[in-house]
């Protein structure tokens, strides 16, 4: 099986990928923390 590849190894674009991954993870962790805390806030408010 022959498959065409771009001749640009991943390493060339590594920095932008790494920055993108870091930014994504930061946002997602913030969402996780928000939903964890909101469950307690919700309970306290509803009581």
């Amino acid at each position: 099986m022959k498959q065409e590849t771009t001749r640009s190894p991943v390493a060339d674009g590594d920095d932008s990928r790494r920055r993108g991954v870091r930014r994504t993870v930061t946002v997602l962790v913030a969402i996780v923390a928000f939903f964890f805390l909101i469950s307690f806030v919700q309970i306290v408010l509803m009581k």
């Binding site: 099986m1 771009t6 996780v32 923390a33 939903f35 469950s39 309970i43």
Partner: protein, 538 residues
């Protein structure tokens, strides 16, 4: 294209580590971790299945036969927890791990070491949870929902809560990894609206996981502090309210149902076009329908609580919101049918399981629509009708999709073709016995048989016996699946081609079979004709 090069070794200049420990315990390779997830899920499927056999054996005829009622309650609780968190969810994560990087042209997951950790947390979580069965006082017996005050009476609560926390951490890390991979690691030219529907379904599912697993963690943490640290979140004596737990649990629990079915929709959307030899009908509508279902899943949670005493306005809102879900779900079912319409269809085992999914999942969807009606739900609530409904959705829905995916991608994973004859034997036995198992449970529920009871009125005897016979034979049929898997992986003489299926399209079919240990270290050139949805924007 002018700078494109061709090569045929797929960057496999360093293969898998030879050392067993290094390869399987220290692995950061998405394919190996995907395999680990799938083996784990299969193991849990049989452990959870053995609990189901115990349940059906006890219910074979009226009266107490084999076990004490408290142990029966432990079996129903453990069966649900093991099947949901141990079998169905890890199986989808395994399929995602294996296929998402291959489908988007990424060399691996975005966070490979976290991927390893996500997996290896799971066996410890389940060993912890299952070990409670052997402890004084036994395992959890208050149902998988862990409603207080009943769940607070269990001696094993702390173990189960810790296990649920571990599963939650594993799922959250897995979801973060999948989102980060899809958003950042796609090969140049793999636009979002060119991605396979399976990848889309996992992207949306991962967002659901991110939003609801922390809420479950919060709920069970409150259970723990209520039992051991003197808080009163759910204790009316201290100003708390047990119904609040139900709200917060089902805010997690209902999206959880979609976490277990959206990736299944993605799988069916891959398999049906392949064996109909046509592109999927309405690609954008399919993606949009998945997003709609995910959104609606957040605003329907109280339909699990109609009988608890909600205000009338809330009951009406949740009833209509729930019924609304049938619109995007209907779009999907009609689009699968439209994909097949006029197609040049063949009926290999993956297609058979997908067709069974479409028909039987729709039956589960219809009984769900019946349960959504407030006045009707007062009749059906906590009866075997509910048990029949969610088993149609989760067994003939989620599980059949997973089995379909296993047959579909197995040649790509192993490099060998499975036995089509035994695959079909597995299919026909599964589809017959699963209906013998679950269809009579609709009648039992309508006649008023409550769920979660070890003994019942003699009026329910015949349908229970039929259901149990179906259960034993469905369970035994799954042993054929094990045989097919082992034969395919180790003994099959028939080698798989790279494309495997005549109508298959997508990047995963451009790599050799079996897929090399490392793929796409140099991003592939995206040729729109190669993709299943390459011309969607034309």
């Amino acid at each position: 294209m002018s700078h494109a090069a061709t090569h045929d070794h797929h960057d496999d200049h360093h293969g898998a580590p030879k050392n067993f420990f290094q390869r399987w315990v220290m692995s950061t390779n998405h394919k190996d971790i995907g395999t680990l997830y799938l083996i784990f899920a299969l193991t849990m499927f049989f452990i959870g299945g053995s609990f189901a056999m115990g349940i059906r054996a006890e219910l074979f005829k009226p009266g107490m036969q084999l076990m004490q009622p408290y142990f029966f309650n432990q079996l129903t609780t453990m069966h649900a927890l093991v099947m949901i968190f141990g079998a169905i969810m890890p199986a989808f994560v395994g399929l995602g791990n294996w296929m998402i990087p291959l489908m988007v042209g990424a060399p691996d997951m975005a966070l490979p070491r976290m991927n390893n950790l996500s997996f290896w947390i799971l066996p410890f979580a389940f060993i912890l949870m299952l070990s409670t069965l052997f402890m004084p006082g036994g395992g959890p017996a208050g149902g998988w929902t862990m409603y207080p005050p009943l769940a607070l009476q269990s001696d094993s609560l702390a173990y189960v809560v810790f296990a649920v926390h571990l599963m939650g951490i594993s799922s959250i890390m897995g979801a973060i990894n999948i989102i980060a991979t899809i958003l950042n690691m796609r090969a140049p030219g793999m636009d979002l609206l060119k991605m396979p529907v399976f990848v889309w379904s996992w992207l949306i599912t991962a967002f659901l996981l991110i939003a609801v697993m922390p809420v479950l963690a919060g709920a069970v943490t409150m259970l723990l502090t209520d039992k051991y640290f003197g808080t009163n979140f759910f204790n009316p004596g201290g100003g708390g309210d047990p119904v609040l737990y139900q709200h917060i649990f089902w805010f997690f629990g209902h999206p959880e149902v979609y976490i277990m079915i959206l990736p299944a929709f993605g799988i069916i959307s891959e398999v049906v076009p392949t064996f109909a030899r046509k592109p999927i009908f309405g690609y954008k509508a399919m993606v949009f329908a998945i997003a709609c279902i995910a959104f609606l899943s957040f605003i329907v949670w109280a339909h699990h609580m109609f009988a608890v005493g909600l205000p009338l306005g809330a009951e009406i809102f949740f009833m209509y919101a729930t019924m609304l879900i049938s619109v995007p779900t209907g779009v999907k079912v009609f689009n699968w049918v439209a994909t097949m319409w006029g197609g040049s269809m063949t009926f290999e085992t993956p297609m058979l399981f997908s067709l069974a999914f479409i028909i039987l999942f729709t039956i589960g969807g219809f009984s769900g629509l019946m349960l959504a009606l407030v006045p009707a739900d007062f009749q059906y609530h906590d009866t075997y009708f509910v048990v029949a409904h969610f088993h149609y959705v989760l067994v003939t829905g989620a599980l059949f999709a997973i089995i379909s995916a296993a047959y579909y991608w197995m040649p790509k994973w192993t490099g060998n073709m499975y036995s089509e004859f035994w695959g079909k034997v597995h299919f026909w036995n599964s589809v017959i016995w699963v209906n013998v198992l679950f269809f009579p449970q609709h009648f039992l529920g309508l006649a008023g048989m409550p769920r979660r009871i070890p003994d019942y009125n003699v009026a329910f005897a015949n349908f229970n016996m039929i259901s149990s016979i179906g259960g034993f034979l469905f369970g035994a049929t799954q042993l054929i699946f094990i045989g097919v898997l082992i034969h395919c992986a180790f003994f099959s003489k028939k080698k798989a081609t790279d494309r495997v299926w005549e109508g298959a399209k997508g990047l995963e079919w451009t790599v050799p079979s079996p897929a090399p240990h490392h793929t796409f270290e140099v991003p592939p050139v995206i040729n729109d004709d190669e993709l299943a949805h390459g011309h969607v924007n034309d």
